[in-house]
């Protein structure tokens, strides 16, 4: 990175460290931080959307839709989430390939599952075996995002379903008294008011989401855990200019501190949002705020 880094064997102390921390692989580690942040940025709104859909489905008057919504929200309760992550990544991949297989190769007569193999025609492979490396990586990341969204969507659905029920019944009744239809009352009265009830649950969920990002490593994405493991391992002088013994401890300590700071900052920001949102609300917290100000 720096001009004085050309011959690492002559370096000492801080200048050695500055060179060591800016090697190509370390830059990959820093980029992978952005991978994690991108995952959070995409997953949070998508999961919220999934959750909103499922929560509204669980309230629906149409029975199969209600079953679907309730089933979806309750799948994540009894089973470890890691199992879902491992399951969905393979299952989604195979589902996509199977659908493409049905469309692209209609005259394929062999079964898809042959013993312990999963076989689809070449044109249906995802990503295509001819496509470049970045397509493979992006596809892997896309699968990870979708998996996270499905699992966290179910959590969000739980929170939003509770929030929808927490909105005082009288509000809906008033809307109905004004002659609003069911749909109008839902969108104009219920949805704007439910957020203040949902926020404690959603902020909890955000913390949980941050803390589950290392699981990306299990899904085969090259995230910060991957690079910390890679860089922390023993490096011998034969393969690198910067030989060192096993430094896993330092790398994982750094990750620990990174996550601690991240959750702390989130906590502070979410507290501020909560204070802002409860202002003037007819809840206990809003009342406490009013009294404190008076």
């Amino acid at each position: 990175m720096f001009s004085y880094c050309t011959d690492p064997s002559t370096l000492e102390g801080l200048s050695w460290l500055s060179c060591y921390l800016t090697t190509g692989k370390h830059v990959n580690l820093y980029i992978s931080v952005f991978v994690v942040l991108t995952l959070l940025a995409i997953t949070a709104p998508v999961a919220l959307l999934f959750g909103f859909g499922a929560a509204s489905a669980a309230r629906s008057k149409f029975l199969p839709l209600r079953w679907f919504g309730k089933g979806y929200t309750s799948i994540v309760r009894g089973v470890p989430d890691i199992a879902f992550f491992l399951f969905f990544v393979i299952a989604l991949d195979q589902a996509f390939e199977w659908m493409r297989h049905k469309v692209k190769c209609p005259d394929w007569d062999q079964p898809i599952r042959q013993g312990i193999d999963f076989v689809v025609c070449d044109a249906a492979k995802l990503p295509l075996s001819t496509s470049p490396q970045w397509v493979h990586e992006t596809y892997g990341f896309f699968l990870a995002v979708l998996t996270f969204s499905i699992v966290f969507g179910a959590f969000a659905a739980n929170v939003l379903y509770g929030a929808m029920r927490a909105v005082p019944r009288a509000q809906i009744e008033t809307a109905e008294a004004y002659g609003m239809t069911h749909r109008q009352a839902f969108w104009r009265i219920l949805v704007p008011q439910m957020w203040v009830y949902a926020l404690p649950g959603l902020s909890n969920l955000w913390m949980v989401l941050i803390k589950s990002t290392p699981l990306l490593f299990l899904l085969g994405v090259e995230d910060i855990v991957y690079w910390a493991r890679e860089l922390g391992g023993t490096k011998t002088a034969r393969f690198t200019d910067y030989p060192h013994p096993n430094w896993h401890v330092w790398y994982f300590a750094a990750l620990l501190v990174f996550y601690l700071c991240f959750t702390k900052v989130s906590e502070i920001v979410l507290d501020r949002i909560m204070t802002r949102l409860t202002k003037g609300q007819a809840t206990a917290a809003g009342e406490a705020q009013r009294k404190a100000a008076a």
Partner: protein
């Protein structure tokens, strides 16, 4: 192999008894059920021991965090913050790396690098921090009248804690603690994916489930079986904790008894 033979060969495979080689080629449903069930022994071991031992540290942490003396309060607050604020996955990795380097210093740390002790220590600290926070919250919500009544009877110090504060706190915290126990058991599935080696392929339920899924490229059989086992385990925990909950609440009038309600999970 018939199913009975499979069970004989693999029921305790995760502990190192029975057949050494894992099954090969085409896997039967019976093999799936037996091996994944065998791995569940580890989940129960980790969960139960961490919960039992963690309970005492959690109590100490809760009392420490509510203490007016900063010498007690600060360490408890930091312990809870560190273990609740960081992912369990990273904690496992970090602890494993720590134990590995400590192993070079003293042979005392040898057993800590294997999962049965090392991962247990991490889970113990983790559940202590989470339940410590739950108990702390319960300590804060003990009705003022209870404490005042104790004062009126002249109870102080240890006597008041043992007879009034502790039972009330436990009663108030119990529904949340049930939840914590369930998700602790779920968290035990992370152990063998986070550095701690599965010695001679003796892993937990998820380890075997992912083993099958990797070999067969078919996630639709092993993971539902795993889910079945875990739902069963969750039901057992709920009924055990429900029994304790009824006992803790038996002096209350019927309608004031707190019912445990399964709430949104906290992945670590």
């Amino acid at each position: 192999m018939s199913c009975v033979e499979t069970i004989q060969a693999y029921a305790f495979r995760s502990l190192g008894f029975g057949e050494r080689l894992l099954p090969r080629g085409e896997y039967t449903l019976c093999e799936h059920f037996t091996l994944i069930g065998s791995g569940l022994i580890w989940n129960v071991y980790f969960g139960a021991l961490a919960l039992l031992t963690g309970f005492f540290l959690a109590m100490a942490l809760a009392v420490g965090k509510s203490s007016p003396n900063p010498l007690w309060r600060k360490p408890a607050e930091w312990f809870i913050f560190v273990f609740r604020g960081s992912p369990l996955f990273i904690q496992f990795f970090f602890a494993y790396a720590c134990f590995l380097s400590l192993k070079g210093v003293s042979s005392f740390f040898d057993p800590f690098t294997s999962a049965w002790l090392g991962a247990l220590v991490v889970l113990f600290c983790n559940t202590a921090a989470y339940s410590g926070e739950i108990f702390y919250g319960a300590l804060l919500s003990i009705p003022k009248g209870d404490i005042e009544a104790a004062d009126a009877y002249g109870m102080t110090g240890w006597n008041r804690f043992r007879r009034i504060t502790f039972p009330t706190m436990l009663r108030l915290a119990w529904p949340a603690y049930t939840n914590e126990a369930i998700f602790l058991f779920h968290a035990t599935t992370l152990v063998f994916f986070s550095g701690f080696p599965a010695w001679r392929q003796q892993g937990d339920a998820l380890y075997y489930a992912s083993y099958f899924a990797d070999k067969t490229f078919n996630p639709f059989v092993p993971y539902p079986i795993l889910a079945f086992y875990f739902i069963l385990l969750t039901l057992v925990i709920i009924s055990l904790f429900g029994f304790v909950n009824r006992r803790l609440n038996r002096h209350l009038p019927q309608e004031r008894r707190a019912k445990p309600r399964l709430r949104i999970s906290l992945i670590r």
